[in-house]
């Protein structure tokens, strides 16, 4: 596997060269091996038949000496084998199988005879052993035996191997040279494609196309690649257009936000200057009315009869009421514009302070206070003071006919919210009008019954909303009312 991986990591050029090298080498090796085997066999067969032929020829020469029992002549006859280079030794046996003559004549007559085949040729230990009968007119006169080396065969073999190897080397070299030149037909288009792809991925410019290289598989690949490029270009263009649209949309949105902010700011400024003029211009005539009424009382009271004094008193009360309305309205509008400055607020402390502030109203009253343990929160201290003053003040005001008045103040935690409440046993209200309670200048009781401007609960609602909380109320006519407000608790407070 590791070797295969090594091949995978080679360049295409090297792969092609390697493949061609392996293929050519294998083909040459197989081809040459076949040729060599075939040639070797052929040489062997030729050699064998030559040896048999020589044995027959020498045998024919030996007929006469054997017939006449002439050893000298027989020795001379078999010495003819000296023309056959490979023959190393030979024996002529008579019809009893005794050695009649030997070659070369330096060998002793009674040398031991190797085990020769009955007839024909046999190859043992690198030597051919040939045995051939000497026959005259159908009568067997003796046997000729000889031993021949196979050196020639080996030489032939070696020659062939060298020749074929050289040839293989030459062919392989030619193949490699050719493949070095020709691999470009395959690798160049692929390498071009690779370079082209990396160039595109660097530049991100899809507005280009490959030059076609032909109609083969690579050509098909090029065509597909070009199609893909065209598609990418189209998508990129679409995306660019969409991006441009989003940019424009954002810009117009920002512009709109800016415009709206400016409008809001100018509206806010208008409101500020409005409340400024209210505080100045609306209060001035009231002050004048009061001032002149005082002067009237001081200087001319004795000249007024009772009806006149009643008129004066009514004017004074109306002016006072008007003054309170203006002050409350101003206060409400200022509350709306105030920003929440969060800090830890000790609710128990504020409630105690509020109850003592209300003392001037409660000192002649019988009030049973039931104040539970209060959870402290992070909120705007001034605003929280205002909330409690309004709610507790309301409870005090609407229980003025009760003896004793019971005012219960408490809280509960649910999830990440704390809910505070003020409950009284006072005049209560009709739940059908519950949603009207928190509106500006909305009142459920006449001014004669209970004094008020209808600003207090509206302020409470606004403050609680600024703290991301909720306000609500429950009540029943003549039974009492409960006012709730909830505030979110920051995690660290839990």
């Amino acid at each position: 596997m590791s070797r295969l991986k090594f091949i995978q990591n080679l360049s295409i050029k090297s792969k092609i060269i390697l493949i061609v090298f392996i293929v050519v080498l294998t083909a040459l090796a197989l081809g040459f091996a076949t040729v060599a085997t075939w040639d070797h066999n052929k040489t062997k067969r030729t050699m064998e038949s030559n040896l048999i032929l020589n044995a027959k020829l020498i045998g024919d020469y030996c007929v006469v000496p054997l017939f006449f029992n002439d050893r000298e002549q027989a020795t001379e006859a078999i010495s003819g084998l000296k023309f056959v280079e490979s023959v190393e030794e030979a024996y002529l046996l008579d019809k009893e199988g005794k050695v009649f003559a030997v070659y070369p004549d330096t060998m002793k007559i009674n040398s031991p005879v190797q085990i020769y085949p009955e007839s024909g040729i046999d190859k043992i230990k690198g030597y051919y052993l040939v045995s051939e009968s000497v026959v005259f007119k159908g009568e067997r006169l003796g046997t000729i035996l000889f031993k021949a080396n196979t050196r020639e065969l080996a030489i032939q073999s070696r020659k062939l191997t060298i020749t074929l190897s050289l040839l293989a080397l030459a062919l392989l070299s030619i193949s490699l040279i050719l493949v070095m030149k020709l691999h470009k037909f395959i690798s160049t288009p692929i390498l071009d494609l690779a370079n082209f792809t990396s160039a595109i991925s660097r530049s991100q410019d899809f507005n280009v196309q490959l030059d076609m290289h032909g109609n083969d598989e690579v050509g098909f690949l090029y065509e597909q690649f070009n199609n893909m490029l065209a598609q990418m270009l189209r998508r990129k263009n679409e995306r660019d257009i969409a991006e441009q649209e989003i940019k424009e949309l954002n810009a117009s949105l920002e512009k709109k936000v800016k415009e709206r902010t400016e409008m809001l700011e100018s509206a806010n400024k208008e409101l500020e200057s409005f409340s400024y003029s209210v505080s100045h211009d609306l209060r001035a005539p009231l002050r004048h009315i009061n001032g002149y009424l005082e002067l009237l009382t001081k200087k001319y009271d004795l000249q007024l009869d009772e009806k006149g004094r009643h008129y004066r008193k009514t004017i004074s009360e109306a002016a006072t009421q008007m003054g309170r309305l203006i002050d409350d309205l101003l206060h409400f509008s200022r509350t709306g514009r105030m920003e929440v400055k969060p800090e830890p607020v000790d609710m128990s402390k504020i409630i105690a302070e509020t109850i003592s502030i209300l003392e001037s109203e409660t000192k002649d009253r019988e009030i049973e206070w039931q104040v539970g343990t209060m959870v402290s929160v992070t909120a705007d201290l001034t605003m929280m003071r205002q909330v409690w003053l309004n709610l507790i003040g309301n409870a005090v005001k609407y229980t003025k006919k009760r003896k004793p008045a019971i005012i219960e103040i408490g809280c509960s935690i649910k999830g990440s919210e704390v809910t505070y409440f003020v409950r009284d046993n006072g005049a209560g209200f009709d739940m059908n009008y519950a949603q009207k309670l928190f509106g500006v200048f909305q009142r459920l009781h006449s001014n004669e019954e209970f004094e008020g401007t209808g600003i207090g609960l509206a302020s409470v609602s606004k403050i609680v909303a600024k703290h991301n909380g909720k306000v609500w109320a429950e009540g029943e006519v003549d039974k009492g009312a409960t006012f709730y407000f909830s505030l979110p608790i920051l995690k660290k407070e839990v």
Partner: protein, 153 residues
């Protein structure tokens, strides 16, 4: 005997001016009060210009300054007084119906000596003016007259 200095009241509203004078009447100081009707007239009086070119020289003991006035408002008048080497030490008290933070801050920033919000209730107003008259008209020591000095402090 020491000649008591005038009290300058800058008030555009004749009713307010009348009521203020009535209040000074209570403290028997009304004869010392000079009323001017806007910011421009205030500065003319102080600098002895225009219709006041022939008035007796000398600065009032205090200037009671309304904020909202035609032509030049109280804040502008205060700024000019504090920028004028001859007027800069004049005690100035804002007497206004505005309790706006903006007006308060601007006045103190420009160096006002006191800031009084006119009470809606007239008896409260009389009390305020009474105390005011006693304090600024009688008790308070004025800066030394600079008309004889060449160097400013």
């Amino acid at each position: 005997m020491v000649v008591l200095k005038k009290i300058l009241l800058a008030e555009d509203n004749p009713r307010d001016a009348e009521l203020t004078l009535e209040a000074f009447e209570e403290s028997l100081l009304a004869n010392r009060v000079v009323v001017v009707k806007d910011g421009v007239e205030t500065l003319e009086y102080l600098r002895c210009e225009g219709q006041y070119a022939d008035r007796e020289p000398g600065l009032p003991s205090v200037l009671l300054l309304d904020i909202k006035m035609p032509r030049k408002d109280g804040i502008e008048v205060l700024r000019e007084i504090r920028a004028d080497p001859k007027l800069k030490l004049l005690p100035v008290v804002m007497l206004t119906s505005s309790r706006e933070d903006k007006d308060l801050l601007n006045s103190y920033y420009l160096g006002v000596n006191a800031y009084v919000v006119k009470p809606v209730n007239f008896s409260g107003f009389i009390d305020a003016i009474k105390q005011f008259g006693i304090f600024w008209g009688l008790v308070n020591e004025l800066p030394p007259d600079e008309s004889h000095k060449t160097n400013e402090i």
